[in-house]
């Protein structure tokens, strides 16, 4: 294992994906080391969500290889569940289970997937809800929570399997501007704890300050990537410059 000093937590090698005749990912190469916060930016429709969904097999790739914590995503002997317990995912629309309390949203997967007892799962869920500042909302149903609270419960739910990497797909895009902060604060805290994170985001401030690596995508390709300072302050590609001039 000393042969590979910085083995990637997540790597994509030559990943290709088409929906029908529409080629959505064209030869994507990306490597995310443990503890890194990789932020993916780019215009709508450029393939950012699809990249995330290839990592936990919500989307099956047509070519190339994805590796997560040493597991090959294209290997048919790798079970979905073994992959997905290593990958937490947070969605733009939260996707909390509306018929379950916040607590049950968080305990469901540990009980069913990890086989924890009800008491163990509850202890873990309460500690995670505390971490996102919602311990007192454990009994509330999603409909009784604000958008920001729902997204924080969704983060706790994704953390409950103790994943190796967290994927955030525009976690704050569905929120009113004045409450994005409470969700970004939780994400900053995770980053400070060296959680490996891949964040699709339109929050350029977050990408610049928290990201260790920034990827700019357009038209299904990675146009430019590097440390935030170089991508934001010294973009090389014309398309990056054009995009940044619009969003900054």
């Amino acid at each position: 294992m000393t042969a590979e000093p910085r083995s990637a937590m997540v790597s994509l090698d030559g990943v290709r994906k088409s929906f029908g005749s529409h080629e959505v990912l064209k030869d994507i190469n990306l490597s995310v080391a443990p503890g890194e916060v990789c932020c993916i930016i780019g215009p709508s429709g450029s393939g950012k969500s699809t990249i995330l969904r290839c990592i936990n097999r919500l989307v099956r790739i047509d070519g190339g290889e994805v590796t997560v914590d040493g597991l090959r995503v294209t290997d048919p002997t790798v079970k979905d569940v073994d992959l997905r317990r290593r990958v937490g995912m947070v969605f733009q629309q939260f996707n909390l289970f509306p018929h379950m309390s916040a607590l049950r949203n968080v305990t469901l997967a540990p009980r069913k997937v990890l086989g924890l007892s009800a008491a163990e799962a509850e202890a873990r869920a309460l500690s995670l809800l505390g971490k996102v500042g919602l311990a007192e909302k454990a009994g509330s149903y999603p409909a009784q929570l604000s958008g920001g609270q729902q997204q924080r419960v969704a983060i706790a739910r994704a953390l409950a399997l103790e994943p190796k990497v967290m994927l955030f797909d525009e976690a704050t895009s569905a929120l009113d501007p004045e409450i994005t902060g409470e969700v970004l604060a939780v994400m900053r805290e995770l980053a400070a704890e060296h959680t490996t994170m891949i964040c699709v985001t339109h929050e350029m401030g977050f990408a610049r300050e928290v990201g260790t690596h920034v990827v700019f995508m357009d038209g299904g390709s990675i146009v430019e990537e590097g440390p935030p300072r170089s991508v934001f302050e010294n973009p090389q590609a014309e398309r990056t410059k054009a995009f940044l001039s619009k969003v900054l």
Binding site: F97, P98, A143, A158
Partner: protein, 223 residues
């Protein structure tokens, strides 16, 4: 008013034990019909939404046939036509089976719509959490699909309950059948029809009240 004055409910009092037995038969057919039609509905909806094209087509054909033909015709067919091809069953079994197929065909469409109305994001969230097919179906999909389907399933139950009166057409002694028997012997009909009408009406009110209660309990997670 004159007509009302001539009503004589003593005939109902005399027939009360028979009517009570008939009501029990009506309740039994309703209970069996509810259980049976829900099973047909869940199974058929699973086929209607399955990956197999043949299964989808077969379930669709079944649904279209049974819900677009009158339940009385199903009952007559089960009772008179099946023995002709060597299948002999008691009238109550034939009639209940026919009702199960008719109300079940309607339940298939109701539950299928409920399954399809569960948002895709819910399935993705369950998948992303590693919840396998059965856990996903049981813990995430079914509760939400039934929640969505509940008002329509309640209407289907009420329709089933009223349609149980059709079994009297082949001589089954449900409450309507008993009433017709008494009427045939005593040549007096208004009191008995008023009485069983009240039975059906009050029963439907009771079903509706229970359904409303369940709905209000579920409303706390209305989205």
């Amino acid at each position: 008013m004159l007509a009302a004055a001539r009503l004589d409910f003593s005939i109902v009092r005399e027939a009360a034990p028979a009517l009570a037995h008939g009501a029990l038969v009506t309740a039994e057919i309703t209970a069996a019909g509810l259980a049976g039609s829900l099973l047909v509905g869940i199974g058929g909806a699973a086929l209607r939404t399955s990956k197999s094209r043949a299964a989808r087509t077969a379930a669709a054909a079944f649904t279209e046939f049974f819900r677009n033909t009158p339940p009385l015709v199903h009952i007559f067919f089960a009772y008179f036509a099946l023995p002709a091809i060597g299948i002999n069953v008691p009238g109550i079994v034939a009639a209940t089976t026919a009702l199960i197929l008719y109300q079940g065909a309607i339940a298939i469409e109701i539950i299928r719509a409920g399954l399809e109305a569960v948002p895709a994001g819910q399935l993705e969230a369950a998948d992303a959490l590693g919840l396998g097919g059965l856990d996903r179906f049981r813990s995430v999909v079914v509760p939400q699909a039934l929640r969505i389907s509940l008002p329509a399933l309640g209407n289907n139950l009420i329709s089933l309950f009223k349609n149980t009166s059709l079994v009297s057409a082949i001589g089954v002694l449900d409450i309507t059948g008993v009433a017709q028997d008494v009427i045939a012997q005593r040549l007096s009909s208004a009191e008995l029809y008023l009485t069983i009408g009240a039975f059906y009406l009050l029963s439907v009110f009771a079903f509706s009240a229970v359904l409303r209660f369940v709905e209000s309990r579920l409303a706390r997670y209305a989205t």
